[in-house]
């Protein structure tokens, strides 16, 4: 796989982190977290990809000796997406509650916890 894909993965991770640091809105923070996680999808798929290899689905047309891309990283990416969906949904629900109770989702104005 070309080295370009790894740069994209790293860039997504850092861009998401930057978004979380500079965020003025909790929903934006949570979406930035998802952006950072997208970096892991790209990394995992890049690790398993090979040029001119086939999808890892074996049957009458494709024998186990054929050249296929790595199915393990694809399974990992799917698991990762499931985890991400759970966490993102939960965090967005919490953000809605914060907005209802405190009338703001700006982390600069949420200062109940400190010291």
């Amino acid at each position: 796989m070309s080295v370009y894909a790894y740069f994209v993965a790293g860039w997504l991770l850092l861009a998401g982190a930057y978004g979380m640091v500079r965020s003025r809105n909790m929903v934006h923070t949570i979406v930035s977290l998802s952006v950072a996680q997208s970096g892991t999808y790209v990394l995992l798929l890049a690790v398993g990809y090979q040029y001119h290899a086939l999808a890892p689905v074996f049957g009458s047309a494709r024998k186990p000796s054929d050249h296929v891309v790595d199915p393990v990283v694809q399974a990992m990416t799917l698991t990762d997406i499931v985890v991400s969906a759970t966490v993102t949904a939960l965090l967005l629900a919490l953000a809605i509650q914060i907005s209802k109770r405190q009338g703001t989702v700006d982390p600069d104005e949420l200062s109940a916890l400190k010291g």
Binding site: T86, V87, Q102, K114
Partner: protein
């Protein structure tokens, strides 16, 4: 994936066999998940007591199974390959669960703490249609599975499973805005840490093509420490260090434990944070110990452990919100655990493990006692509770017992663990370590005792009144400090209790008895010594998991036991704790010269307070700085 491996493992499945103990591990994970589903489905129709009984009985049953598993690991590790995909000639596509005595012990601690917390919750938590109980059981399943997993990707998945349950438990009191905010901070920081771990796992997989811990360990046997290997190690342990509340990844801890329901705090402080330390130690020993030199790791984690202990102890002493105080004391102790594990020898590991076990009992008991205060008086602020709990004699007696236990008074297990770890760290080349151990135990114990003396005995000057003329500058400084801290005016978690129900006192007694047993039972030291030998034997782990080898015989090491010098230092730290408590109570009555001598400490504490800003963006920035620092500490010496 090489197709041959799949075929070979398929053949292995055909001749798979298992002993009784090997079946235990999947059962320990599956039972709480199944009961969790039952509770979610039937919760609205079940009466409250049925929900309580079912959940508590499930946790107690899992505790029994964990005890059985621990007994089975005495003669070697118990290995299960999911679906019977056992390795053939060291090749496997299967996913193992591997229990040695140390992680089986952690499973036992986690299960017993959940049992105690659920028992305490009978009268304490208002559960809406069984969801609280369901989440607690899911949390238990996640912790147990994380501790037993022998696969690094599964560790990530179970890490996130226990994380998701923990975020939901933290933010469960949705009518309390701070609780929801705490849950959100917890979720963002911990999940970001977990994704960095996953990044590291991806890099490691790209280098080795493996995910199982034993397979990875075998694959890295002959690797030089390349940049990618070091990067993957740093990224993988970052997630675990976030969970372990290591400075500078620790910021979420106090915010979350201040607002989470008290029985949940018991699990956070008592075992979840320690599971993070376990994750770092397990991954290093099995996977990376051949590739990254021991001296390098020892240096990095002793330094970060000492920093964690110092920051935790200072912040702990500066708190008035009792749950935050206990949370910072956990951070301080985690620093000491890290130093114990960082010796990378069986002695330090045994000491740290015993320290963790003793700490779990004591700290959990303290949290439950603070929960009783919250239930009876409606807040957890040391100043507002001044003298209000004078009549609760039993609660006070238990509180002071636990407070001295936290300050490492023998014969609690915590004191034995501290003395063993304290002996092992100087042996690894850090002669200053015992002083730090004593001071940190004294400061955290002293803070707990000071709060107890104010609340239960009404000792010290009444807070907030004694403004003496002539000290305007000092008072102004203190008031500025007050504005930057969290007071303990927390929302009640229960309707006010006129008396303390037995289901709330009984778990405290059980936990303290457990902490005492770890120190005084005759076989305890030997058992922890053996567990540490197994834990530090990475080659044995790989050979038993991959090649069906039998467990190596244990060396008849000198047993982990009480020593005169260890007991002396323990008693010293307990006495110093009483001294610190007195200093905290009567600081205003000290002669002016002495008070002026303490003034340089103020800016330090003020800066530390300001750094703990409760702002999620700041915490992410600190996390990134921590990754860079960890990479520098580990990577630079190897260049």
């Amino acid at each position: 994936m090489p197709a041959g491996a799949a075929a070979a493992a398929g053949a292995g499945a055909a001749l798979s066999y298992s002993t009784g103990a090997a079946h235990l591990m999947p059962v320990i994970i599956a039972v709480p998940v199944i009961v969790c589903c039952v509770l979610v489905a039937a919760g609205p129709r079940l009466p409250r007591r049925a929900t309580d009984t079912l959940a508590t009985a499930t946790a107690a049953g899992v505790t029994g199974l964990a005890g059985w598993l621990l007994a089975a690991t005495r003669h070697g590790r118990v290995v299960t390959w999911s679906g019977g995909w056992r390795p053939v000639h060291g090749l496997s596509v299967g996913i193992p669960l591997i229990a040695g005595p140390l992680n089986a012990g952690l499973v036992l601690i986690a299960s017993s703490l959940v049992t105690c917390a659920l028992l305490y919750s009978w009268e304490y938590v208002e559960s809406v249609s069984g969801r609280y109980h369901a989440l607690m059981l899911l949390f238990l399943a996640g912790m147990d599975a994380f501790a037993m997993s022998g696969d690094v990707f599964d560790m990530f998945v179970f890490f996130e499973l226990m994380g998701a349950a923990a975020y939901a438990l933290t933010g469960m009191k949705i009518e309390d805005p701070t609780a929801v905010q705490g849950g959100l901070i917890f979720g963002v920081i911990n999940s970001f840490g977990a994704y960095l771990s996953l990044f590291g796992i991806g890099i490691l997989y790209s280098r080795t093509g493996q995910l199982g811990l034993p397979q990875l360990g075998a694959a890295l046997r002959h690797h030089q420490p390349g940049v990618l290997i070091i990067a993957s190690f740093v990224l993988i342990v970052t997630g675990f260090c976030v969970k372990a509340a290591m400075v500078p990844f620790h910021f979420w801890t106090a915010d979350v434990e201040a607002v989470a329901p008290t029985p949940v705090c018991v699990l956070f402080s008592g075992v979840m944070v320690e599971l993070g330390v376990y994750g770092v130690a397990r991954v290093y020993w099995v996977v990376f110990s051949p590739a990254i030199p021991h001296g390098d790791i020892r240096q990095a984690f002793v330094v970060l452990g000492a920093l964690t202990a110092a920051v935790g102890a200072i912040m702990c002493f500066a708190q008035r919100h009792l749950k935050r105080l206990l949370a910072y004391s956990t951070i301080a102790h985690v620093g000491l655990f890290l130093m114990g594990f960082a010796t990378l020898d069986p002695d330090g590991t045994a000491g740290a493990a015993l320290y963790v076990a003793g700490h779990a009992g004591i700290k959990s008991a303290l949290f439950l006692l603070v929960g009783i205060l919250l239930a009876r008086y409606g807040n957890v602020d040391e100043h507002r509770l001044y003298g209000r709990a004078r009549r609760d004699r039993l609660v006070a007696a238990l509180y002071f017992t636990a407070g001295f236990g936290l300050a490492a008074l023998p014969p609690f297990g915590l004191a034995l663990g501290k003395s063993v770890a304290e002996g092992a760290v100087p042996a690894a080349g850090y002669a200053w370590a015992p002083a730090l151990f004593v001071l940190v135990s004294a400061a955290t114990g002293g803070a707990v005792l000071r709060a107890g003396a104010r609340v239960f005995l009404g000792l010290g000057s009444r807070p907030g009144r004694a403004v003496q003329p002539g000290y305007a500058d000092a008072t102004a400084g203190e008031e500025a400090g007050d504005a930057a801290e969290t007071t303990g005016a927390e929302e009640r978690e229960t309707p006010g209790l006129s008396r303390v129900p037995v289901t709330m006192i009984l778990p405290v007694g059980i936990l303290l008895a457990g902490a005492l047993a770890a120190g005084v039972l005759p076989g305890s030291g030997q058992a922890f010594g053996d567990a540490a030998q197994r834990f530090t034997d990475a080659a044995g782990y790989i050979s038993q998991a991959l090649f069906h080898g039998s467990a190596a015989a244990l060396h008849p090491e000198p047993a982990v036991a009480w020593t005169a010098s260890g007991v002396g230092l323990d008693v010293l730290s307990a006495a110093l704790a009483a001294g610190f408590a007195g200093l905290g109570l009567y600081a205003r009555r000290l002669p002016p010269a002495l008070r002026r001598a303490g003034r340089p400490a103020r800016p330090v504490i003020g800066t530390l307070r300001r750094v703990h800003s409760g702002h999620v963006g700041d915490y992410v920035a600190w996390l990134l700085l921590g990754v860079a620092g960890l990479a520098a500490l580990i990577g630079l010496p190897l260049l």
